[in-house]
């Protein structure tokens, strides 16, 4: 009985370590190495940023489908400005502003107009994606148009020489993801703002009658999610030293999947950003390990999708029997 309870409570975490163990066994020389783990951390950093900030709206029981196109648009906006000779800081600032405004627009539609998040952000997904094509003229912006200061950022990091890992460095993209993780954790877990978001998720009507400014908070939360998507878009553009209007589109489903996998770790099924981190790590490690084992990418998708469904199904079954 105690084993069942343990498994129910920590099933997702046990699964996470089982996956690591499996790859460590199958890939003894290449998987659990500092170089590969650092590589994984960089690979998942964009997804991580989107998933962490997605957690903010999912805490309120909402979600945002437009993050993928928002990331694409942010990358394209920065690249177009670079191509026209604007300095790096201006392109980055404009891209972040686009994320913030787009997020506010989502929040306005959802909280002030009262459209369901699914419908509202499905609409803005399409709009933002169209805008990204218009802004970029449908082309990929790359090569000399992208300043080396911008693309070089993703290739550098903090040297790990002092901790005995000669020749390795902690990529800046990983550092950004960690900073975003800390900020989102602090905001959601330590501030009264975060407590109020959880209250809205717990019972929106009760929160309103207890004096919580529900509309304003929902709008601001969507703005933060939009901002996170824009950051991820910039990270992506920096990493591949180019921008095209579709490059962020894979982020949205993975981010929502990561939050859902994380939610299975909480007793009451609430999103927690540290649990989202576990979800992101599961997706990232599966991707990395299966690629190294030369598993076909379509088979990889089947496996990843199956694991997400299994985790959520297991958690919902164990709640029913409780």
């Amino acid at each position: 009985m105690a084993v069942i309870t343990l498994f129910r409570r920590y099933g997702t975490l046990i699964g996470f370590f089982a996956i690591i163990g499996f790859f460590a066994w199958q890939l003894p020389d290449t998987f659990v190495t500092p170089r590969n783990l650092i590589n994984v951390s960089q690979q998942i950093s964009m997804l991580a940023v989107v998933a962490f900030t997605m957690t903010i709206v999912m805490v309120m029981g909402d979600f945002d489908l437009s993050v993928g196109s928002m990331a694409s648009l942010a990358g394209v906006v920065a690249a177009v400005l670079f191509a026209q000779g604007f300095p790096v800081w201006a392109g980055v600032a404009a891209a972040l502003a686009v994320g913030l405004v787009g997020g506010l627009a989502n929040g306005f539609l959802v909280s002030i107009i009262g459209i369901l998040p699914f419908v509202a952000t499905l609409g803005t997904l399409t709009i933002l994606s169209g805008v990204a094509f218009v802004v970029s003229d449908g082309r990929t912006i790359f090569g000399r148009d992208i300043p080396s200061a911008f693309s070089g950022f993703a290739r550098s990091g903090i040297s790990l020489e002092p901790v005995g890992l000669a020749g390795l460095s902690l990529p800046w993209l990983t550092v950004i993801a960690l900073i975003v993780l800390f900020i989102v954790w602090f905001v959601l877990e330590q501030t009264i703002y975060g407590r109020r978001l959880y209250a809205i998720g717990g019972n929106r009507e009760a929160a309103k009658l207890a004096g919580v400014k529900v509309k304003r908070l929902r709008m601001s939360a969507f703005a933060l999610t939009g901002l996170g998507a824009a950051i991820a878009g910039l990270m992506y553009a920096s990493r591949v030293a180019s921008a095209n209007p579709t490059q962020g589109s894979g982020l949205m489903l993975d981010a929502i999947a990561a939050v859902f996998v994380g939610m299975t770790m909480s007793e009451e099924g609430e999103p927690r950003v540290l649990a989202t981190l576990v979800g992101v790590l599961i997706l990232g490690i599966l991707d990395n390990g299966l690629t190294q084992m030369a598993v076909d990418s379509y088979v990889r998708e089947i496996l990843v999708g199956g694991i997400v469904v299994a985790a959520v199904a297991f958690s919902s079954l164990s709640k029913q029997t409780r």
């Binding site: 501030t191 009264i192 207890a210």
Partner: protein, 506 residues
């Protein structure tokens, strides 16, 4: 000879005895009123007649012959027809479709709907009710609530087929205007002249006096009296309904009401309310009374700054203009909503989170960072004040009993030492022990100078707890009465004054 005679009908739900050997006799061709307070057993009796609820014991004869009632089909076969209080319509279907629901529908070629025939059928039924102007093809959701009710009534009447002998109407006029009521009454006259009987359940005394021949009163699941309407009166019926006056279970006021005015409401009108005007002094307990849905909840929410005021002013402890819902809480106003599960609690979250929600800013560091230790301390302290029983403050609220859940909502409300406490049905769905705890708490707060505005559908509660009672008639303030020497019958009588169906239109 009587059409329907029921004797010795009993029904127990769990521990609640809804009916205790009650009886009812309805003569042929009469309109028979069934009256009683909430919980008197009227609804249970109607459900038994409809074959929806099986009684524990019942002896029933129709036309003098003993009959058994095993289900809804039996009730239909016996000629019973029902018009329910709640609207059961499918908003995006047409009037005719709604009326035809659950009945055989005219067809073409055995499969296709014969729309002209269906619409003609519906039109005939509507015409009979004097509302032939309603187009059977309109989507029913577009009609006013009153028209929807009339359509439902017309549907029930056209369902009669042959053999309809007893029409049971449960508060049919609840959403009708005066004109619409008159149309319904004309139909009732017609039914009666055709030899059918009507069992008419209503809280509206004037209607009962006007259209009924006989009245039966139930109290606490028992038959109290049956009298010809011509031989009784409003006062006597109310006495039958309320029985005795009970005020003993309430802790008495031990401290005098203060002098300072804490809350002044100056001729406020809203969508629902009209002419609300009172001044509340320190420590005073003001009750809001009236028939169901007369605007009690709206009045409290108006004081909480929700909804828009059409005119008038609200001043709370010299802070005028409460436009924003968050402001009242920070101005010393606290609120306990009517439906704690829907409007009050985050059921899956811990007790602490539920209690501190409106006080997060006050407890925080620098207005930003949550201060868990202070939050837990406040929750522990307030849990003590309301005598909360739990397995620790981290326990999710859904695991608590109804009474303890209500105490969590109270702990939240008293958390910031409120000057004005708004309580919407504070003892709704709460067991007797918790009820007394809540009464005691309200008294204590009042003794400490906190003013209270509360609504209750229990007359004894209003009289036992409150200093004065503001009476609402369909949203309009009719009077404020002191509770000294007030009896339940007296109070209930005031709820009925002028409260006729036609008033809702005003």
């Amino acid at each position: 000879m009587s059409l329907l005679a029921i004797d010795n009908v009993s029904k127990t739900y769990g521990r609640t005895r809804a009916l205790k050997g009650a009886s009812l006799t309805v003569a042929r061709g009469e309109v028979h009123a069934l009256m009683g307070e909430n919980g008197a057993g009227k609804s249970t009796l109607i459900k038994i007649l409809a074959g929806v609820v099986a009684p524990d014991t019942m002896e029933m004869t129709v036309d003098g012959r003993p009959v058994a009632l095993r289900g809804a089909q039996d009730a239909f076969d016996l000629g019973f027809r029902f018009i329910h209080q709640e609207l059961n319509v499918v908003a995006h279907l047409s009037v005719a479709e709604n009326m035809a629901m659950g009945k055989p529908c005219p067809r073409r070629f055995g499969v296709a709907v014969d729309w002209p025939a269906l619409n003609a059928q519906a039109h005939a039924a509507l015409d009979r009710l004097g509302v032939g102007h309603i187009d059977p093809r309109t989507k029913i959701g577009r009609l006013s609530a009153g028209d929807q009710m009339l359509v439902s009534i017309a549907g029930a009447l056209s369902a009669t087929g042959e053999g309809a002998r007893l029409f049971v109407m449960d508060e049919p006029t609840a959403s009708l205007t005066g004109d619409e009521c008159d149309k319904l009454f004309a139909v009732i006259e017609t039914l009666k002249s055709e030899g059918a009987s009507v069992l008419y359940v209503s809280h509206r005394m004037n209607e009962v006096m006007a259209i009924c021949d006989t009245v039966t009163v139930y109290r606490d699941g028992r038959h109290v009296a049956t009298k010809p309407v011509s031989e009784t009166g409003k006062d006597q019926i109310i006495r039958f309904m309320t029985g005795r006056d009970v005020a003993d279970a309430f802790p008495p006021r031990t401290t005098p009401v203060g002098e300072r005015v804490v809350c002044r409401v100056d001729d406020v009108s809203t969508e629902v309310l009209c002419g609300i005007d009172f001044a509340l002094r320190e420590g005073e307990i003001l009750g809001i009374g009236g028939l169901a849905n007369a605007g009690q909840s709206e009045l409290l929410q108006m004081l909480l700054g929700l909804g828009t005021r059409r005119s008038g002013r609200v001043e709370i402890a010299s802070a005028p203009g409460l436009a924003d819902p968050s402001d009242p809480w920070t101005h010393g106003v606290a609120y306990v909503p009517r439906e704690r599960r829907r409007e009050g609690l985050m059921l899956a979250r811990p007790i602490t989170d539920n209690v501190v929600l409106p006080h997060l800013t006050a407890l925080s560091r620098a207005g930003t960072i949550a201060h868990r230790r202070r939050e837990r301390a406040l929750t522990a302290e307030m849990g003590g004040v309301v005598r909360l029983k739990s397995d620790g403050l981290a326990q999710p609220v859904y695991q608590l009993s109804g009474g303890n859940q209500q105490k969590v909502v109270f702990a939240r409300a008293v958390g910031a030492a409120p000057r004005l406490l708004l309580l919407d049905e504070p003892t709704r769905g709460v067991d007797v022990g918790a009820k007394f705890d809540i009464y005691t708490l309200i008294r204590e707060l009042s003794g400490q100078g906190c003013s209270v505005v509360l609504t209750s559908s229990e007359l004894t509660e209003l009289i036992g707890l409150c200093d004065r009672i503001l009476i609402l008639l369909d949203g309009r303030q009719s009077e404020i009465v002191a509770t000294d020497g007030l009896t339940s019958a007296d109070l209930l009588g005031r709820f009925y004054d002028e409260a006729h169906g036609g008033h809702a239109a005003a």
